[in-house]
Symmetry: C2
Subunit: 137 residues, 2 copies
């Protein structure tokens, strides 16, 4: 993000400007929890993101250094950078909050229980897997 684009130096604002908006975090979710790595896979998610919005959010996430693009054409794959993997605790808190306040949440109960009762262990395990799969650097 260019310095002049900043709305403020507040950490919350920095994070929110980096993610862009809710569509961006759904892409992070797809990369982090659903093993999706391609444009076609992101576009096929339940939320039916419009392809022009998806293109824009992938650009924003790359510009913010949260994801990386490798390959070209049909072989194009997206990965989380180290900065993207660092969003893991935030994403997990989002899932825990939703599980607590959404009667219809699709969050697996076992995952949510682990996230609250064995948080450090879950984070370490998931982080190790993500770093391996995404070669996060």
């Amino acid at each position: 993000m260019k310095r002049t684009d900043r709305r403020s130096d507040c950490p919350t604002n920095f994070a929110l400007q980096a993610f862009g908006d809710s569509w961006s975090l759904l892409v992070v979710r797809d990369l982090m929890f659903k093993g999706k790595r391609s444009f076609v896979e992101f576009a096929a998610s339940d939320e039916h993101i419009a392809t022009n919005i998806l293109t824009d959010r992938l650009f924003t996430l790359r510009r913010s250094g949260i994801i990386r693009r490798d390959g070209t054409g049909r072989a194009t794959r997206y990965s989380l950078t180290a900065k993207g993997v660092d969003l893991l605790p935030l994403m997990i808190e989002m899932i825990v909050w939703a599980a607590r306040h959404d009667g219809r949440s699709a969050a697996p109960g076992a995952f949510v229980r682990r996230a609250t009762r064995a948080r450090a262990e879950l984070l370490a395990e998931m982080r190790a897997r993500l770093v391996l799969e995404h070669a996060a650097r």
Copy 2:
């Protein structure tokens, strides 16, 4: 949120639809960390939220059950509900992430260190204060 408004039952999506967008989370930040409680105070934040957007986001946050409105006219005050106070861990992870990845972050170093090294204690302390101040219910 009405059932038919849901993009999916994914917990991440539920959370993102409840917050609305980045402006909503800046209002939560103002309530949670900056002691702001009124429209005029939210509007005066560094990010210069437009008043029509602020009106809309306050409505969305109330509809999602994250904030509560008390009083009328100039005496109108907003508070976090219990559901809003439950966003504390997520907000703290956002601050920690920003502090790690933003060279210009305004996040106080002592706070960030506590959030990583004495997380449970910090959460309990802040939660108790918020519940008291906002009479969260």
